[in-house]
């Protein structure tokens, strides 16, 4: 894939990229379907019940049936809604979520583009979907969704900064923004991963990432017990599916990013285990991150808006800055 990118852009290359793009789209859609199924099963097990079991063996086809239902369902647009924005909002919410996956290296060879500003690319694109959510909240002309939209705008903006700052420590250690070099910078023994030198950065990153996804301790925009369903209350049919898709693709993206940045991408935890291919390690770490997100959703209550803001600005931000400062000092002392 890399040498293809270096060559001049001909029709033939373009078609190959498109082909790979579609293949990857189906991989991600497959992941989303079974992430939803896996989440419902895990949360079910955690609540002493079985989760979906009726459709297909162990309920495998449940999510496929759901998506099929959403496809067939009528796509209602509220009369007084702002039609253009209403239709545009899910697109704006979903496209960056999928575009962000381009720079994530899965194994030493497998990976799409290897931008040298991979991390910056990720942070920039992921904040565009905030606009999509705010647009959805405003366009559906519903008070609840307006509240949901406003809340999510406040939340995402105030958690974007700690998310990015918490990663600056790693960048300083590796000296480059490219995700591939960050992974190569981590050794194949688990104590050489970025996790341990950057443990503080890791904590801030996890909290900010969960809040970025609007998931449970911070799922304020679509707080079902208060705002009924938040910004996507007026959406139905396939447009609603877009928002669900966007949410779960972000789960994919954030888990992949955590694996790459902190858990050493495709490196095995112990050097001796090198014989097992890197992709398997990547998938293992990746699914642990996904499981952790579902685990949080099953246990934790929701945080209040003002507590969310104060946590974001008064707690995470200073810790992230302190982490950068400490990393800088350590680099200065140890690099000599």
């Amino acid at each position: 894939m890399n040498e293809l990118i270096q060559q001049t852009f001909t029709w033939q290359n373009g078609l190959i990229f498109l082909g790979w793009g579609i293949v990857f789209l189906f991989i991600v859609l497959g992941f989303v379907t079974y992430a939803i199924y896996f989440e419902r099963k895990v949360i079910g097990w955690m609540q002493y019940r079985h989760g979906p079991t009726r459709l297909g063996p162990f309920g495998m086809f449940q999510t496929i049936a759901d998506i099929f239902k959403l496809l067939i369902k009528e796509d209602t647009i509220p009369k007084k809604a702002d039609r253009a924005l209403f239709i545009l909002a899910p697109v704006i919410a979903y496209v960056p979520a999928f575009a962000v996956l381009a720079t994530i290296p899965y194994t030493s060879t497998l990976g799409f583009a290897d931008l040298n500003v991979g991390l910056l690319y990720y942070a920039a694109l992921s904040s565009i979907s905030t606009i999509g959510i705010v647009l959805a909240g405003w366009a559906s002309n519903n008070k609840y969704s307006l509240l949901g939209g406003m809340r999510s705008a406040a939340q995402m903006i105030s958690y974007e900064i700690p998310l990015v700052l918490s990663v600056v420590g790693i960048i300083m250690m590796n000296g480059s923004l490219s995700l591939r070099t960050i992974v190569e910078g981590q050794g194949s023994n688990f104590w050489e991963w970025n996790l341990f030198p950057q443990i503080v950065g890791f904590m801030v990153f996890v909290i900010a990432a969960v809040s970025e996804l609007n998931r449970t301790p911070f799922d304020l925009p679509e707080a079902e017990s208060e705002l009924v369903a938040g910004y996507h209350v007026e959406y139905s049919g396939f447009r609603f599916a877009f928002f669900m898709l966007a949410e779960y693709v972000y789960v994919f993206a954030i888990s992949a990013l955590t694996t790459v940045l902190f858990l050493g991408g495709w490196h095995p935890p112990l050097a001796a285990l090198d014989v097992i291919p890197g992709l398997l390690w990547f998938v293992l770490k990746f699914s642990f991150c996904v499981f952790f997100l579902f685990w949080l959703r099953a246990t934790l209550p929701r945080i209040r808006v003002d507590q969310l803001m104060s946590l974001g600005w008064k707690v995470l931000l200073p810790i992230a800055l302190a982490n950068i400062f400490v990393t800088a000092v350590c680099l200065e002392i140890f690099s000599k």
């Binding site: 895990v42 097990w45 955690m46 609540q47 002493y48 019940r49 079985h50 079991t53 685990w295 949080l296 099953a298 246990t299 934790l300």
Partner: protein, 152 residues
């Protein structure tokens, strides 16, 4: 943080523990004997004393009697017995006052109907509703009054 981690521990333990839900539509659910489902009427026990129609808080029982066909037996025999299941609240007062235990509750709890007029149960339907009849009718509450012996 300690509380959060404790909470996560509880849910993790629940992940692997035995589940408590039962597979109702596939596995039929058995109710205890005293469960109050839809009524069963034994027409020949009924002496048309109208007690059940009077006690019913929502007045959903209407019954008419006709004089006993064979001349020497006195008293009346039940002709039509309509139970308007739309308003019946399954409070079990009718079986309580019935002196001859003609009307008895069954454990049948699947009571949904596709149209409202299925809900008007007539005497024929009630007498055929013989599945899972309740045995222990007001056992400790009172001795069976009137003719009906406690044959259960």
């Amino acid at each position: 943080m300690k509380g959060l981690i404790q909470g996560l521990g509880v849910t993790l333990k629940a992940l692997t523990s035995k589940k408590v839900t039962y597979r109702y539509p596939d596995v039929p659910l058995t109710m205890p004997d005293r469960f109050r489902g839809i009524q069963y009427l034994d027409p020949d026990k009924c002496i048309v004393c109208n007690q059940c129609a009077r006690i019913c808080p929502t007045d959903c029982i209407t019954l008419t009697g006709k004089p006993n066909p064979d001349p020497e037996a006195k008293g009346k025999v039940v002709d039509t017995f309509d139970l308007n299941f739309e308003t019946c609240i399954l409070c079990d007062l009718c079986t309580e006052v019935c002196p001859t235990e003609a009307i008895v509750m069954t454990n049948q709890f699947e009571l949904a109907a596709y149209s409202r007029d299925d809900l008007f149960k007539d005497r024929k339907w009630l007498s055929e509703n013989t599945s899972l009849i309740r045995q222990d009718n007001n056992g400790a509450f009172m001795l069976p009054k009137g003719g009906g012996k406690k044959d259960a």
